[in-house]
């Protein structure tokens, strides 16, 4: 292996090719939307889909090259698996958005461009092994999302949602940066693994500062993935944002946060770190599920449910190792399918101007539209964690990873809270299937939708089922991803270890 070069970035362009491809496609989409607004309706989504597909090709190609870490970004199998999950999610978002954007007159070129930029930020976050790059990714993810949250300029809720998301998002970024500064001042490195390793080997005498810094970074990421007690913004922002953006936020922003957490957690010190994660996970599962029970607005309900799911996902991060991270990746995929499904159904049901968003508005809807009834039931049962749907398999992998890593107590808690969760998911099916439609029940829910929306809905339902029953190959794939994470952590340490004299001055300088 060559001597380490932390001397800022020896660029290997292939490593950042996927992110660049997506960002470039976003620019093309933006320009196309600006110059040919007349065609924006069909041109921009097509360009977006093409760009995403192109990026996926680049990702697979870059993954096959087996590139070494480039100093800031790594193209290991974790990145590949994670990027593809993000790209799949982005692809589905475009498809799901189409109906919504057309109906609400939001069909402007920048909609898809911003979404793609945000997705490229998500990819960058998971691909970075350096806090600098991770911060860049975090902002690239967040800033377009602030705009997207306020994209329905006509609706006060949307603008308010944007402001709230902005203020809390920027607040979280400040925590991230200050945390990174503390880590840097304690270890002299902004490389995630190197900094963690330096502390572990007590190369520096300032471990407490490192731990505080890491805790602040964790706080920032906890804001992004909505862990209790950093979740307060979630229901408001989810409710106010355009529904298709909410779906994107719930899946991609969360996934990005967990991708970053997976990278950071590998560098976490023993002891206090695991206690912290344990507590966050437990609080999130309990509180998220508890508050979801009393919600009447379907988007708020899904917001709290997404909080609860963050708690389960954190279990996988806590368990760590090959099984834990693999379970997180699998669960993200399953969660993406069922969450997009639920939001896609809500987009159709809510009707023009998002009138019907209360669960009670959906009384007896299954009778009017069996498709919506069946698919929504499938998504709800899957979110509740019932077999044979993907949600159950995902939860099972997470739980068994947690038991194996020595957290049986947390697993019992998770199982109990998921029973609590069944209650509110069940309520949706009760309203849709078992209650009679009432004449004067507020704004009527819609059941008619374009063919594309119906196809996407059915495809997602099938995916939820298939991801469960045929989870074996998917699990093997995510397992390769988590193995990649382990390998590149080892490689990063190897690069700094062999000859202390050759090691970067960064490390030795601090201790002497």
């Amino acid at each position: 292996m060559t001597a380490p070069s932390l001397q800022i970035i020896t660029w290997n362009l292939w490593v950042s090719a996927p992110v660049c491809a997506l960002a470039a496609s976003a620019m093309v989409t933006l320009i196309a939307g600006a110059f040919w607004p007349a065609f924006a309706r069909w041109l921009t989504p097509c360009l977006a889909l093409g760009g995403i597909a192109l990026t996926a090709a680049f990702t697979i190609l870059a993954g096959m090259l087996g590139l070494p870490p480039a100093g800031m970004q790594v193209m290991d199998s974790f990145t590949v698996v994670f990027d593809l999950i993000i790209l799949i999610a982005a692809f589905i978002t475009v498809l799901v958005s189409n109906h919504y954007v057309t109906r609400e007159n939001l069909e402007r070129g920048e909609y898809y461009a911003l979404m793609m930029l945000s997705a490229s930020g998500a990819m960058l976050m998971a691909a970075s092994d350096n806090y600098v790059m991770m911060f860049l990714g975090l902002e690239l993810l967040s800033i377009p999302l602030y705009v997207l949250a306020g994209f329905s300029r006509g609706r006060s809720e949307s603008q308010e949602s944007a402001l709230k998301y902005l203020l809390l998002g920027a607040f979280a970024s400040a925590f991230f940066v200050f945390g990174a500064a503390l880590v840097f001042s304690a270890t002299g490195s902004t490389n995630i693994v190197v900094a963690g390793d330096a502390t572990e080997r007590a190369l520096v005498g300032t471990t407490p500062i490192y731990v505080i810094g890491l805790a602040m970074i964790l706080t920032a990421l906890a804001f992004k993935v909505a862990l209790v007690p950093f979740h307060m913004w979630t229901p408001d922002v989810y409710q106010g944002a355009p529904t298709s953006v909410t779906a994107f936020m719930a899946v991609v922003a969360k996934a990005a946060g967990f991708g970053a957490l997976a990278r950071v957690a590998a560098a976490g010190p023993e002891g206090s770190w695991t206690v912290l994660l344990w507590g966050l996970s437990a609080a999130t599962m309990i509180w998220g599920n508890l508050l979801a029970i009393s919600q009447n607005n379907i988007k708020r309900l899904l917001a709290y449910s997404s909080i609860a799911h963050a708690g389960y996902l954190l279990m996988g991060i806590l368990a760590g190792g090959r099984a834990g991270i693999s379970a997180v990746l699998f669960y993200l995929l399953a969660y993406a399918a069922m969450t997009f499904g639920a939001f896609a159904a809500v987009i159709i049901l809510a009707g023009r101007g998002d009138g019907a968003e209360d669960i009670e508005d959906y009384r007896g809807i299954a009778r009017r539209s069996p498709l919506l009834g069946w698919t929504m039931a499938i998504f709800m049962f899957s979110l509740a964690g019932l077999p044979p749907f993907a949600g159950f398999f995902g939860k099972l992998y997470l739980f068994s990873a947690a038991v194996e890593a020595g957290y049986p107590g947390l697993t019992v808690l998770a199982v109990l809270t998921s029973v609590m969760g069944v209650f509110y998911y069940l309520r949706v099916t009760v309203v849709m299937w078992m209650q009679e439609p009432e004449a004067e029940s507020g704004p009527a829910a819609q059941t008619s939708a374009p063919l594309l929306s119906r196809l996407v809905l059915s495809a997602l339902a099938v995916a939820v089922l298939a991801l469960g029953i045929f989870s074996s190959p998917v699990l093997r794939w995510t397992n390769s991803g988590s193995a990649g994470l382990e390998r590149s952590a080892e490689a990063a340490i190897q690069m700094t270890l062999p000859e202390p004299t050759n090691a970067p001055a960064a490390l030795s300088g601090g201790s002497r």
Partner: protein, 501 residues
């Protein structure tokens, strides 16, 4: 080819479901008859299974074992032995009968038949699965359609009943899931195979842990059986469920609980089963006596039959508890108790199925189930009266009917184990006879209530549904050899299996 017969039986209803989905909803008759005709195939195959099964100790046949999720050791492992063959037959039979009986369903026919076929696959899967993971998946798959059946086609309080049924069962199955995970990790062989884990005896000697796992599994299965005090969902679910739903609920779903005890708890946790057998026996006793007395107090015909299920399933649990507690010296008593319990499972499925159908018959005509309002129906509905007499006699354990044989075996096996408990549970027998005879008196005998003078007798659809069940009651009451031939292999095998204790 033989080996795949179980797979075919299990998934055929699912294939049928796919076919039904493509029939447009405005052709309800096509949907109905397609489902009924299709459901005859699994019925025929399971009858063939019964005749073909050769028995013997540990007589696992038609086994298929293929990897499903190799990374965590999940296999698609199915097989049938003496315990499951009668249950498979019972399931397919009751499903076909329910489908025939449900020809009178007018609303949302397509959904009804689809859910019923899904339910059949779930139930059959539970009885053929030999892998914990597979077992759990099918266990839950059978839960969801029943939830919808109660919630959509049920009575006035259907939402409440459906949610209660779902949540109760779910709490139980979640406890079961935790127990399964515990066994999986304790075995350490990365396998979910039921037989392999039982063979490994993961908790041998660790009484505290074994006890914990035992009670977790107990909770899961006892809610399903249901054992007192976990029975409160049952009357609600039964009263609100449509007739066919009640038939399946009482006839098959309750049996899944007992099946779990026999398939999983006894072989895998023999020490804990033995240690806590007396508690199980006490709960069984309470179920028997309490169920009988509460049934006696009911004025709702359907609720009465529902509580009689609590009472009758108590005998099954008594037989199981007795088999657990007996020492190696009483091998034959043990086998007797197990034989009795297993026969009672089958016999109760048949009898209670018939009773619920008959309740449905009278409810559809009179639109009430209040026993105080009936009277003299015997003179009005002759065929109905004959069938109800026979079903009630079978239920109260008249010799010559299958219920008697089963209960006799249970008591015979339980006697050496728990003298006092067995004697006390005889009270249940007496009370059962009392409330069933009283019911017959209130419904069939006495002066004809003029309100019901014009009721029509049973039509062909109802007769076709009930008669096969009556025939089975009599067949196994008079000549139980064909079923014991099958049961006995598993009973003796299980009895000798955990002699070590």
């Amino acid at each position: 080819m033989d080996r795949w017969v179980l797979t075919v039986i299990t998934f055929l209803p699912l294939g049928l479901l796919a076919a039904v989905l493509f029939v447009p909803g405005r052709r309800p008759n096509v949907i109905r008859w397609l489902s009924i005709a299709g459901s005859l195939v699994p019925l025929a195959l399971s009858a063939w299974l019964w005749l073909d099964y050769s028995g013997g100790a540990h007589g696992l046949q038609y086994a298929v074992n293929r990897p499903w999720i190799p990374l965590i050791g999940v296999n698609y492992h199915v097989g049938a032995d003496g315990l499951s063959v009668p249950m498979i037959f019972l399931t397919t039979l009751l499903t076909t009968i329910s489908l025939i009986y449900s020809l009178n369903i007018k609303e949302r026919v397509k959904e009804f038949y689809c859910l019923f076929l899904l339910l059949e696959t779930g139930m059959l899967g539970v009885f053929v699965a030999l892998d914990y993971f597979l077992f759990y998946v099918f266990w839950e798959v059978s839960l969801v359609p029943m939830y919808f059946l109660i919630g959509i086609w049920g009575g006035p309080r259907r939402e409440y009943a459906a949610i209660k049924f779902f949540l109760y069962t779910l709490v139980g199955s979640v406890a079961m899931l935790l127990a399964i995970l515990a066994m999986y990790f304790a075995t350490g062989a990365r396998t979910f195979d039921i037989i392999a884990i039982a063979g490994a005896q993961p908790f041998a000697g660790q009484m505290a842990l074994q006890g914990l796992v035992f009670w977790a599994l107990f909770l899961g299965f006892a809610i399903k059986v249901p054992v007192w005090p976990f029975h409160t969902w049952l009357p609600d679910a039964h009263v609100e469920a449509p007739t066919a739903g009640s038939v399946i609920l009482a006839g098959v779903l309750l049996k899944m609980g007992c099946y779990g005890f026999l398939r999983i708890v006894l072989p895998t946790l023999p020490e804990a089963a033995q240690q806590y057998a007396v508690w199980v026996a006490v709960l069984a006793l309470i179920s028997i006596v309490y169920g009988a007395f509460v049934a006696m107090a009911q004025m709702d015909f359907k609720k009465l039959i529902a509580y009689s299920s609590v009472n009758h399933m108590g005998y099954v649990m008594l037989g199981i508890a007795a088999a657990c507690s007996l020492g190696p010296a009483n091998l034959s008593d043990r086998a007797t108790a197990l034989n009795g319990a297993m026969l009672q499972m089958f016999s109760h499925g048949v009898i209670t199925g018939a009773l619920f159908l008959l309740v449905g018959v009278v409810y559809e005509r009179a639109h009430t189930r209040d026993l105080r309002e009936f009277g003299g129906l015997g003179a009005v509905m002759a065929k109905y009266s004959v069938l109800l007499w026979m079903s009630c006699f079978a239920s109260l354990g008249l010799p010559g009917m299958s219920g008697f044989v089963a209960e006799f075996f249970v008591f015979r096996g339980a006697f050496p184990a728990y003298l006092l408990i067995t004697c006390l549970s005889m009270i249940g027998l007496v009370v059962t006879a009392a409330y069933l005879l009283w019911t017959i008196q209130r419904v069939l005998l006495g002066p004809v209530n003029p309100k019901w003078a014009g009721l029509k007798d049973m039509d062909w659809r109802e007769i076709v549904s009930v008669v096969p069940l009556i025939a089975l009651m009599i067949l196994f009451g008079v000549y139980p050899a064909p079923i014991f031939r099958i049961l006995n292999g598993y009973a003796t095998g299980l009895a000798s299996y955990f002699v070590g204790g």
